[in-house]
Symmetry: C2
Subunit: 384 residues, 2 copies
């Protein structure tokens, strides 16, 4: 299979921002691309060769789309896996595979997978329905506090709640879920692993999420993480173990906790380019998007070293603003050295909506960190 | 004028490879783009918001296209400047300006411009017709050898010929032209200058073209140039002088000779992203394409320092092959560290056709140079 040939077609399920960034790098290699998305306004539309309208959870939509491509990938996990499996049987290369995706789509299955493969993760209990949790508490099988997570369709923090009292259980959807130990962690880390079909593997340096001291919200993704080398090595080893266990092809972003005792626990994974790797566009020899393409097209993987230190700041809609978006002071941040805004092109802002991200690169990571703080204090996503 | 606003429109004249690379970076800032090109198969089609079909030398096509955009730029010099001038009068921001482009479009005017502005350049004579050259030789006003250059429509080496004897004059088109002194140069250098409408100026590091020792063809563009610091400073000063003389807005690539006596002579300029700046995509804090956008949108200019050493190798069609293109051994070069191929997407190759380029980046420029040679010896653009 030669992806430079004029008949080769890469299918991408999902036409959002990640897909759009992936598409930039398909242009570099002149790969013919076809995108399926449910929205006629999908950001990908402007960057792909073919655009098809359809629901990613609909069997027929995914199957009919997929049977016209050579390699199929996705930029979002909420995809009909039965259709992916049917396509695999018919010879379409689906990367990551339907099998991997099925495990990852369900948080309970994902946690069991870690347990079965001896991958360190926080202890948890699994429930068919949230209503069963109360019984477990009353029977002494579960103690406050814990983290409730819906097994299905959790994305970007929805479907997660910290439960400290019985009252916190009220209003939870009565769905399959897990109750997970709360981990008092020192750091939240992530490692992106790439693996191609020949089993060639590479890892990006460990990144660190720096939290706002009060708001408990991730403010900065920092590469490389400012942690002990031994801990970094441990995190990379765990990430590689997860990748191997899944036998996955493509990118796998492994999110982890560094506990107070410097143990590494896997939190969750994403089988695709990931927010924690956006900095690689500017900071790495190979961007995560190019690396994903290399992996799923079974090409040699690119060098994952950093050229310079990189920090990423998410651009989210400011509280109190809903409507046509304005990027206040964007020109001021563009004056700062090594600062690149990435605007996702959503026309409407609302509080906490992800509207873009900003990358700050510098030879000196401490200097980058200072500039990142200036960026954060300067730009504001508001409405007209 | 806010380019993030939903009504802003950037017009690009020319839908070729340079335009395509420029369009990647418009995506980053979510700039709405409209492209005019004469070919229904223009590479830009897949990356712009709007595509219009039309001849760039046709007054009406350019004028009617331009009056619907806010800022108009071009990726190729062969554009109808009367239409640009009319648009400027109606308030469309045309960057670079019609005035700059008129001078650059005509090599005789360009040379006179350097002479008028005290910019060092090789001596030359101007002729209304090539047929007048013989008289000048016979009258003792011109001596062999010299370089004949057609005043108009020279692009990528066409319209240029070295004249050593009277016989070499035979077959030249009888057009407006110049006869220029042959400069026995040590190095061919280039500096890309960016300038926005507020007069903010920045320069990229000097690059060097390394020639094949026998074929006398540029093999590598190397950044930074391996030259004395004093010479580099001189080259940058000359480039800045040219930029100021043109009062230009956007990118200006200034190609220069370093003479045997370490003088700098301007050869020619291009008022747009340029082959000598392709390496910046991977090696620089700000790619030349992003910098061009920043300049013409009157945004703060980006940092032009190199993150790492960069070398660019052009991918041209091999001799003896015409037809559906194959990139032989492309996977082998993708195994080499820091190597990124850029495939332009032309389906047909022919001898010496520019089909793409490859960038090699490395912290150590000597190491990059070694890898670049391996790249050059490995990949071959052939046909099926």
């Amino acid at each position: 299979m030669n992806f430079f040939s004029s008949t080769f077609k890469l299918g991408i399920l999902g036409g959002g921002q990640l897909g759009k960034m992936l598409l930039y790098d398909t242009r570099k290699f002149d790969i013919y691309t076809s995108v399926l998305d449910a929205s006629i306004d999908a950001p990908c539309k402007v960057a792909c060769n073919e655009f098809h309208l359809g629901d990613l959870m609909d069997y027929d939509a995914v199957y009919n789309f997929g049977k016209h491509v050579d390699v199929l990938t996705f930029e979002i996990e909420n995809v009909n896996t039965d259709a992916l499996e049917a396509l695999e049987k018919e010879g379409v290369k689906v990367y990551p595979s339907s099998k991997t995706l099925r495990v990852i789509q369900n948080k309970a299955k994902q946690k069991l997978f870690y347990r079965d493969h001896d991958i360190p993760t926080a202890d948890f209990s699994r429930f068919a329905y949230s209503s069963e949790i109360l019984d477990a508490i009353h029977n002494g099988g579960l103690e406050f506090p814990f983290v409730w997570k819906s097994a299905q369709f959790g994305y970007d923090g929805t479907g997660v709640k910290i439960i400290r009292t019985e009252a916190d259980l009220e209003g939870l959807p009565n769905v399959e879920c897990i109750a997970e130990d709360m981990i008092p962690f020192k750091n939240e880390l992530a490692v992106i692993v790439a693996r191609n079909n020949q089993g060639e593997v590479s890892t990006y340096p460990v990144v660190e999420m720096e939290f706002h001291p009060e708001a408990n919200q991730v403010e900065y993704v920092i590469c490389p993480a400012r942690i002990d080398e031994k801990v970094a090595k441990k995190a990379i080893d765990v990430a590689l173990k997860v990748s191997k266990a899944f036998n996955h092809v493509g990118l796998l972003a492994v999110e982890m906790f560094q506990t107070k005792e410097d143990n590494i626990l896997v939190n969750e994974v994403a089988p695709r380019p990931h927010n924690s790797g956006h900095h690689t566009i500017e900071s790495s020899y190979t961007s995560q998007f190019e690396q994903h393409l290399r992996a799923i097209l079974n090409l040699p993987l690119g060098k994952t070293d950093s050229k310079v230190g990189g920090i990423m700041v998410n651009l989210v809609g400011a509280e109190g603003y809903t409507g046509n978006v304005i990027y206040q002071n964007i020109e001021d941040i563009m004056k700062m050295p090594g600062v690149t805004p990435h605007i996702y092109g959503k026309k409407q802002t609302r509080p906490f909506r992800k509207m873009g991200h900003v990358t700050i690169v510098n030879e000196d990571l401490n200097e980058a960190r200072k500039i990142a703080e200036e960026v954060k204090n300067t730009i504001k996503v508001i409405s007209q």
